[in-house]
Symmetry: C2
Subunit: 320 residues, 2 copies
Amino acid sequence: MAVYTEVSDDELVDFVSEYKIGSARSCKGIAEGIENSNYLLTTDSGTYILTIYEKRVNPEELPFFLNLMEHLKEHGIPCPLPIKGRDGQALRTLCGKPAAIVSFLDGMWPRRVKPDHCAQLGSAMAHFHTASQGFTSQRRNDLSLSAWQPLFEASADEAESLRTGLVSELEAELNFLQSAWPQELPAGVIHADLFPDNVFFHDGNVSGVIDFYFACNDFFAYEIAICLNAWCFEVDLSFNVTKAKRLLNAYRKVREFNDVELKALPILARGSAMRFLLTRLYDWLHTPENALVTRKDPLEYLEKLRFHQGVSGPGAYGLD
Amino acid sequence: MAVYTEVSDDELVDFVSEYKIGSARSCKGIAEGIENSNYLLTTDSGTYILTIYEKRVNPEELPFFLNLMEHLKEHGIPCPLPIKGRDGQALRTLCGKPAAIVSFLDGMWPRRVKPDHCAQLGSAMAHFHTASQGFTSQRRNDLSLSAWQPLFEASADEAESLRTGLVSELEAELNFLQSAWPQELPAGVIHADLFPDNVFFHDGNVSGVIDFYFACNDFFAYEIAICLNAWCFEVDLSFNVTKAKRLLNAYRKVREFNDVELKALPILARGSAMRFLLTRLYDWLHTPENALVTRKDPLEYLEKLRFHQGVSGPGAYGLD
């Protein structure tokens, strides 16, 4: 939850006049999105989300994200559509920062994930991967394998304060991941942050996929592995194989994944657990205690990592 | 800014079904209101504000506030209208806490107050005072004269850490206010917290008055005094007499105030400065540093208090 930038009424009126969406009627900061300032904007023509991009987003990458959303929306994915200004540009400036207006999506993200949500997610993710294959721009995943060692080193000195033995456990796992990470799997643009709070449901269906600011090129199966971690563990960190099975079966009804992808799932799940463990660990140790941000527990992902270390094969995820 | 209560999709669906407003389409926590959790709720029938009342509001007082909003709305004041459930009740329960849905109001609060805003405010406030006279319920102002001494004592031990000499300065002022506070002035239900962030403007007119949770019976002129403090000082804490004059003249075009009220303005302005100085001082000294709340500077109101101590009469506020 965060609103970092205070937009004055005058600035807003000027900004909205750069678009053909009528004049602003109201603009309220919303408690969603940690990285950017988000506002629910109503104008004479409807409801929109206004985002001001704060310092954690690289402005040079914004065209990739906005163009991707436009591409996916054109291909039937329920994602926000960037609204272009009168000059044809969607990426603009407000309060001296990059800013964009996108369409508003109905729905709520599931606070309590049920198996049906996982099935709907699997199908939506597969449609996403199919649609993204026609998108030609590329963005490297800067939070994948090669980033993990430096991320780990930036936290190693203090990591033991969270859990004794954590440093040696992560070192061993990083060595394993480096040696065994798959080289060749079907790849394309993935969302890379498909957590429940980025997927809206309405009347039981996926009505919105939001927050594209980690999207990048990577293995499609890596995205599935991220979702196994983010959607299929219970609050007590037990693994719900029914949810995983529903997710995977729904996915492969839309986009078949081959045996190599299937066999890679356990290591991809370990890698994705490592990725979120390391970024959370970094944020945990480097976020001031009084920051207006709720830090997420890194050790949740240590438990998930250990689960995947213990599986004997992809059958653990419920596939026949 | 704050959202304290996380509402699950299931709880929301159940809650909204208690109303005749269609089913919920989306619900987003908004970064407005410090005391309560506020959500922008869209349903099949439109946009609403859902409020969950957190611990700083006394549940027994909620009917007063909701009935007042309904009364004022019926009398043409642009305030939120509490929506009643199928059983006729507006005050309901969500996540185990008192909750209500009210109508949504267009407009934005002015981040930079201009003289025109003050004139519009003066007129709207006078209409408010006229309309509230027909409202028969009463609520004592529990942040007025009799509350100030105990509030002061609760902060006195640490007050010097903010400004040397503050304790003796406030003691002297409290003694003066106790001895000179007016006894008889036209009174009725006032809003009691008409700060700029509680007044929305659209196309230059007041489009909404929100946040009624300090409303109480007190002198109408005391509300004017609160607004002189909240709207007529510049960021550098200089007093803008043009803003004050526009506010007062617009007010008395709608509701005349008599000579006794006029003469009382300087002491009422001192008292209202004391009220906000003391509550801010209390919050400053008693809010944990890591709380998700931005503390407001008490010393801003010390400067305002000193300004009013130095005026020779109501002419300082621009009246002829």
